[in-house]
Symmetry: C2
Subunit: 181 residues, 2 copies
């Protein structure tokens, strides 16, 4: 994967894809499926909703870092498998044949099978709403797959929507886009 400028990291989260979040606690990696995320600014800060009901939550809060990866639509059954078992009893990487690669700024692993990865630091919590506030430290993507890759959006009722047509409105949107994007 190639580096993606941090000024573009928010464009991975803004379309609302399901994400995989990896953590490391001690020598043990874990990964969870999250679909409640939100961009907070153009600088790569974003929020996600999770809590102690996810086994990864303790590691994320203890280590204050994670990787947020964007799976492709072809990974749907892996995404669902990861989301419906617990790292407390299962090695999800082995169970789902999920490859790992070292990250540059955090101990949690990158997922090279995903379309993109964001290495993140946990900078704050909004406990009233089980919200974690993340800051992007580094981002990676596969440029070839970024153009053709389709993301997955959870509806929340057990159905998922795959990315369809992409519409270019860069000219009309120019006044609202950050400089240089």
């Amino acid at each position: 994967m190639d580096p993606l400028p941090l000024s573009r990291a928010f464009t991975l989260i803004e379309p609302g894809p399901v994400v995989l979040v990896t953590t490391r606690e001690g020598e043990r990696d874990n990964v969870m499926t999250i679909s409640w995320t939100m961009v907070l600014d153009f600088a790569g800060r974003f929020a996600l909703t999770t809590g102690p009901w996810n086994h990864s939550f303790a590691a994320l809060v203890a280590r204050r870092e994670c990787v947020v990866a964007i799976p492709s639509a072809e990974m749907i059954d892996t995404v669902i498998g990861i989301g419906t078992c617990s790292g407390a009893s299962v090695d999800k990487f082995e169970t789902f044949g999920l490859r790992r690669a070292p990250a540059s700024r955090v101990a949690a692993p990158l997922l090279p099978d995903c379309l993109a990865n964001i290495e993140c630091r946990l900078i704050d919590r909004v406990e009233a709403y089980d919200m974690l506030i993340l800051e992007s430290l580094a981002a990676w993507h596969d440029p070839a797959r970024a153009a053709s890759g389709r993301m997955l959006h959870a509806v929340g009722d057990g159905t998922f929507i795959v990315d369809g047509e992409r519409l270019d409105r860069r000219v009309a949107m120019r006044s609202k886009l950050p400089e240089g994007l």
Copy 2:
């Protein structure tokens, strides 16, 4: 539009669509385009990121209510038009030929051209992150269009993704879905 049970309101936001947010201040309606939203629970609470840079923000905070509507992909140029001008100087309903209908619980109008509408109360703010916390009071959708309607996802770089194929994984997801969904 038909009523949608509040227990399903989160399924309108979870896939990450661009939304239109209507407000009313005095006799004046306004509408803004927002793409930074996040589900907070299965009970219809969600967050959105906005601030005083949006003209609607003052009315939303003053009246503590709004309607969050889900536009269809066909509405892309209306969505962009709404997002790139200000209600301070433009009557967006007139400019974009956007129809309005009365809501049941709030003064802000419903948008019957959209796929679905959620009437919301502003219950909290997280000012450090320009976040508004909304609670759903009533939701409406057009069942015929809900099945075939395609939502729009902003990437943030001036391109937009239209909903593609829908994948049914209700059996595999059963253990994670709220009762009765």
